[in-house]
Amino acid sequence: MASAFVYAPAPESRAIVDIAPSYGLFIDGEFTEAADGKVFKTVSPSSEEVLSEIAQAGSEDVDRAVRAARKAFGTWSALPGSERAKYLFRIARIIQERSRELAVLETLDNGKPIKETRDADLPLVAAHFFYYAGWADKLDHAGFGANPRPLGVAGQVIPWNFPLLMLAWKIAPALATGNTVVLKPAETTPLSALFFADICRQAGLPRGVVNILPGYGDTGAALVAHPDVNKVAFTGSTAVGKEIARAVAGSHKKVTLELGGKGANIVFDDAPIDQAVEGIVNGIFFNQGQVCCAGSRLLVQESVQDELLDSLKRRLSTLRLGDPLDKNTDIGAINSAEQLSRITSLVAQGEAEGAERWSPACELPESGYWFAPTLFTNVTQAHTVARDEIFGPVLSVLTFRTPDEAVAKANNTPYGLSAGIWTEKGSRILAVANKLRAGVVWSNTFNKFDPTSPFGGYKESGFGREGGRHGLEGYLDV
């Protein structure tokens, strides 16, 4: 289908952000080179342009950062909660002030559309700091008994799909409860975390309270394994999550893991189809499907399959893929060449196993990492595309006849992070939600996030909750 509308380019200006040619590690309030002098480059996934050269933390740097965090812990944890709160409120406000700059930066470094960084990531980042700021002096009211104590130094490892938002989910509750942190951003998206270091400076945050160590998996492993870390928080793949669970075995480290998913989006025959189609699109194509809670399995009731798929395909044909800085772009770039090849190979496997592949006519830019929105139909539960987390813009469509079958299929996965239910009937929503083994269930909506709302997985999607009152527990000695 030809595009109904032709849009003139509407690029957001990148002049608002000033990226330095190189960045150091942020340890004890100062930018510093790695002990062994190693650096790596971060590129813009939409153009493969090198954005900056980043110091790469090794185990010596991890040790230095943990020592700085330990030193800062005494004073920081002894501050009255109301004073810690005011630091976090300052950070929240500075993020709001600088949010357009950070949105453009995030889009450049991650490849996701400016529409998303501007309207979803950044508002949520600021809201998360604002929310946990308010808890810092109210911990006595949080349901963990009087005067709950922090754990100490938190080692935090975050992914590349929502770089600054995952930083906020980690750092805000850690600081509110009185911990100090050493955080490792992903190797493909280190920039927003380093800009956050500058925000800590502007907020006057005491040195050592937040330390940022860009690096690869080995940096994260060294941080997790460091004997003077009291808390490990990780968001990323289930495979690495399991490695971390093994690495901390026998220690006293408190652990929270937010891992992969294979979310089922269940559409019943009485669902409002147009609304469901929007939810399905949002569920799997938001952030190019590089979302742990993506609705990557569509379970549609057989009687409305044809109608729903027709609508869905029509809708996919109107999605605009291209320059992530363009304000009209719906689908941006895949974050890295490595991720693109993973998606490509899983999709090839899907075809080889006999699932039917479909994509709208979609021209891909010549440079950068791109993947067209893709549907698989005739998918069975045994297919790889129905079982493995693809972490890309690929939706597998399965059908069901009865609610029981829908529930059984939805739960037929080692994961348990998210699910969606589309029906007009309230009692059906609640009965199905009760049976789903998933940490977040959206009904007649999808991919909704709020700092007040706990988020996290069942089963191999990890354990612990981030957000809300529940999110405090992972950072308190309770």
Partner: protein, 308 residues
């Protein structure tokens, strides 16, 4: 021009203190004012009073106008997200911080305090706004939640604001006390009609200027100065007021007002000794919250095509 360069001190400009109703700054409709001096404050009762200002002496009609404004603002304010209300309360703290010196002066004059003691009061008042800014989106998780009823029902209790709250601000603590009683009322989505400290109304009237520039919708807080007993009586009896905080009433007045309040079963917070310097709990919020419990069937998993 005279060749004599005798330096005369510049004559200052006095501020006309006005009421704060519906986001505007009217004079009392009665045209009345009363003299506020340092001598009217308890701290300086025996001393020679310095004239500070003429404050509006509000009438019962002013009180009714304020209730109309508060009611009008209630839908929007209670319907705003808790996050949005928190942002606005925090904005009030930001605006106050910028006018800290003014309030230190006014509180020192009003309560006969030294500069440093007055500054401590103002700092605590700013921090109190921050404290309640953080409560707006947390109180529901602390006082509400899912109820495990013995049946196939989803059952959720949530707090909701009760409506328009009349607040008799504390008589002695003209600013910290005032903030400590107003902030919890509006944090949860109520709107307020506030009677300032009778002897020391000026910090309260100046607070109106801060609220007006803090993105707080007009009518959410309305501030009246005058004789507490005169203004409180029509508010306690008003059929469109949902609750009353009697912090600023003595025992005799409090009893009278509580009796009047019974006519439409207003929620009443009785006067009690409070040390406004210490961090409050949740009681000033919960006093003006309703609890709403929603039931919904969850159906049951059964054979194909079953009721769920």
């Amino acid at each position: 021009m005279s060749e004599k360069t005798e330096k005369t001190e510049r004559l200052s400009v006095f501020k006309t203190y006005k009421l704060y109703i519906g986001g505007k700054f009217p004079r009392s409709e009665s045209g009345r004012v009363y003299e506020v001096t340092t001598a009217t404050s308890a701290a300086d009762a025996a001393g020679k009073g310095k004239w500070l200002a003429n404050a509006p002496l509000s009438s019962r009609k002013d009180a009714r106008d304020a209730v109309v404004a508060a009611r009008k603002a209630f839908g929007g304010w209670s319907g705003a997200t808790a996050y949005n209300r928190g942002q606005i309360l925090y904005r009030i703290a930001e605006m106050l911080e910028g006018r800290r010196e003014q309030f230190v002066r006014e509180v020192a004059d009003a309560e006969g305090l030294s500069k440093s003691k007055a500054a401590a009061q103002v700092d605590a008042a700013i921090d109190r706004w921050v404290w309640y800014a953080g409560w707006t989106d947390k109180i529901a998780q602390v006082v509400g939640g899912g109820n495990p009823v013995a049946g196939p029902f989803f059952n959720l209790s949530s707090p909701e604001p009760t409506g328009v709250v009349a607040v008799l601000a504390p008589q002695e603590s003209s600013f910290l006390g005032l903030v400590s009683v107003v902030a919890p009322v509006i944090a949860t989505g109520n709107t307020a009609v506030v009677i300032a400290s009778e002897k020391s109304p000026l910090p309260a009237l100046s607070l109106g200027e801060v609220l007006a520039t803090s993105d707080l919708p007009g009518g959410v807080v309305n501030i009246l100065s005058g004789r507490t007993a005169e203004i409180a009586a029509p508010l306690a009896a008003h059929q469109d007021v949902n609750a009353i905080d009697l912090a600023g009433a003595d025992d005799v007045l409090a009893k009278e007002l509580e009796i009047a309040a019974a006519d439409n079963l207003k929620r009443v917070l009785r006067p009690q000794p409070v040390d406004y310097a210490t961090t409050p709990g949740t009681e000033r919020m919960t006093a003006f919250l309703e609890t709403k419990t929603v039931w919904h069937p969850t159906g049951s998993l059964g054979a194909s095509g079953s009721s769920y």
